[in-house]
């Protein structure tokens, strides 16, 4: 995995540099536009300050920003024991030093993402729709995929990419708005002096147009190869590729669209949240590889190791490999390495023996909902006929009727 990590670090630096350049240009253009000819240098200085603040913000607050944009809430073990256990299991399988914090998003569209500065303080967020749709094996597959993003340090890159893209879009939009207001004023003050403000205006407009294209470039940067790699590592954690395969299928078939996702945060999710079911076809600009291809690769794996994924990937895509050689020589390519070292191939854990049934789908759905009802201050009323009523805090009427037995429950 080290090759991939080094590549990520190079890409992170490149991203920060190009964002700084764009910001500098934006600062120069805005400075000249608003402060006259000599405004260029202070404009660039201002942009550099903004860049520094942004980068520091991304480094120290980026994960929190991502989580709050997505509307994620932290959960503890007593809230959702099964989700918590699954995350703990995958932490062990990935050999991470510390278990990521667990977050839940109240959204019916099934999806998940991981974020954080480094493996030691990462977070995994899943939607309530995901918890309601998937069974335990599938959930484990999704969490394993996210855990792979954390261990492969993809989250660091996605963090920078997301925050920078968001900030640039905001700045460009702000500049555009300022141009309509302030630009007009300065022109009238100089009564029509041709001091190049026209060129500056054109340049600024060009920069406004560039911003969304840069967001597109970030889509590219968070390359599709990384998703394949996370699938491969995820499968090697659970040793059960079918779990992730079937989860990907279910998630891609779900009709709902995720509410809290923007083009800046989309690359973080396990499945692109901005595309609707039925239009999942990948094109050159897609952030995520086509789902059915990911599923097919996972399904034709002979075993649960990285080498198995590599072989399956070559077969399905008829192309070159996806996993760096160093990773294949290293850890879980067990059989080959053992033969080289002249040892009998050790039996690396088969899918562990599960000792009992998980709560039913209905039960886990109620667990998730209960968490959000508690958080949102819903009042619980148990009706004698066996139903349970939950009353929102802003409920207007003084009584609520049980539809089953017709009892009116006094709420005052």
């Amino acid at each position: 995995m080290w090759e991939q990590i080094a590549a990520n670090r190079r890409k992170s630096i490149l991203l920060v540099m190009s964002a700084a350049l764009l910001l500098g240009a934006l600062g120069w253009a805005l400075g000249v536009n608003f402060m006259g000819r000599n405004g260029g240098v202070p404009g660039v200085m201002l942009a550099l300050v903004v860049w520094l603040v942004m980068t520091l913000t991304a480094w120290y607050q980026g994960d929190n920003i991502m989580l709050s944009v997505a509307g994620a809430h932290r959960v503890q073990k007593e809230d959702l024991p099964q989700l918590f256990n699954v995350v703990e299991e995958m932490t062990l399988a990935a050999g991470l030093p510390k278990m990521p914090a667990v977050y839940v998003i109240d959204d019916p569209a099934p999806n998940a993402f991981a974020t954080g500065r480094r493996a030691e303080n990462a977070a995994i967020a899943v939607t309530s729709g995901l918890l309601k749709t998937l069974d335990r094996d599938e959930l484990q597959g999704v969490v394993a995929h996210e855990m792979a993003h954390i261990r492969n340090r993809d989250i660091q890159l996605m963090l920078f990419a997301g925050v920078l893209a968001g900030a640039i879009v905001i700045l460009a939009e702000g500049g555009l708005r300022g141009m309509w207001l302030g630009g007009g004023r300065s022109r009238s003050r100089r009564d029509g002096g041709s001091d190049g403000s026209g060129i500056v205006a054109i340049l600024a407009v060009v920069l406004m147009i560039l911003a969304p294209i840069l967001a597109q470039l970030i889509y590219f940067a968070v390359s599709r190869k990384r998703e394949y790699l996370a699938d491969a590592s995820g499968a090697s954690f659970t040793r059960y590729p079918e779990g992730l395969a079937s989860a990907l299928e279910k998630i891609s078939r779900a009709p709902q669209r995720l509410g809290g996702a923007t083009s800046a945060t989309a690359p973080m999710y396990i499945i692109n949240p901005l595309k609707r079911a039925g239009e999942m076809a990948a094109n050159a600009t897609s952030t995520h590889p086509p789902i059915d291809e990911r599923v097919r690769i996972l399904r034709s794996m002979a075993g649960g190791g990285l080498a198995d994924y590599e072989r399956s990937y070559r077969e399905v895509t008829k192309g070159g490999g996806v996993i760096p050689k160093s990773a294949l020589q290293g850890e879980p390519a067990v059989a080959a390495a053992a033969a080289q070292a002249g040892q009998p191939a050790p039996q690396v854990a088969p899918a562990p023996v599960a000792a009992g049934p998980a709560p039913s789908a209905r039960e886990s759905a109620r667990q998730v909902d209960d968490f959000f009802y508690r958080k949102d201050g819903y009042r619980k009323v148990d009706c004698a006929c066996g139903t349970t009523l939950r009353i929102p805090p802003d409920f207007a009427t003084p009584a609520a009727k049980c539809p089953r037995c017709g009892t009116l429950h006094d709420l005052r």
Binding site: Q82, D137, A349, V353, P357
Partner: protein, 186 residues
């Protein structure tokens, strides 16, 4: 002239630095093995601690399953009494299969299955069982990495000089694995 004397010196320094690099790699690999084993151990202890609670909960419902319950208690005692690592590994495997039988038998007791206490214990134990498996899988990966360094050229030279020995895999015997009933989560 000076270059002729310097060349062997430079070569020696390079060789020593290269050796130090390999040595440090070996130490790091050994520490990773230790850390990974500590994780396995934490989960094994957790299971060990959960069992009295489980027996207490189950006892009232499963009057007719004395033998199954006793097998679990005995397997747990065997874990406590294990001296060497090899004995421990075997005893833990025995405990896994005894627990598996207990949960398989519990399917026949609807009252027990309806008890919320049992349901949460079952999720806890099932998950601990998974955690043991995953921690063991990672431990075996670190052992593989360590052993490759110790046994492959050129690491084996340094390893021999400083007495780095290959580590033992935590293997699960095939028969035990087959005995343990696979109870699905679905």
């Amino acid at each position: 002239m000076a270059a002729l004397f310097l060349l062997p010196l430079v070569l020696a320094v390079v060789a020593v630095m290269w050796g130090v690099g390999i040595y440090n790699g070996l130490v790091a690999a050994r520490n990773r093995v230790k850390e990974a084993w500590a994780q396995v151990d934490v989960q094994l202890k957790r299971r060990f601690d959960l069992i009295p609670n489980l027996i207490e909960t189950v006892k009232g419902y499963m009057q007719h399953e004395r033998g199954t319950l006793e097998a679990v208690t005995q397997a747990r005692a065997a874990v406590a009494g294990a001296g060497t690592q090899a004995q421990r590994v075997e005893a833990e495997a025995g405990l896994t299969s005894a627990l598996g039988r207990l949960f398989a038998v519990s399917e026949a007791y609807p009252d027990l299955k309806a008890s919320t206490n049992f349901a949460s214990l079952q999720e806890e134990l099932a998950s601990t069982e998974n955690k043991i498996g995953f921690a063991r899988q990672f431990y075996n990966e670190t052992v593989m990495n360590m052993n490759n360094r110790v046994q492959m050229f050129p690491g084996n030279i340094i390893a021999g000089m400083f007495h780095f020995a290959p580590e033992t895999f935590f293997e699960v015997k095939d028969e035990v694995q087959r005995e343990a009933p696979k109870v699905s989560f679905n």
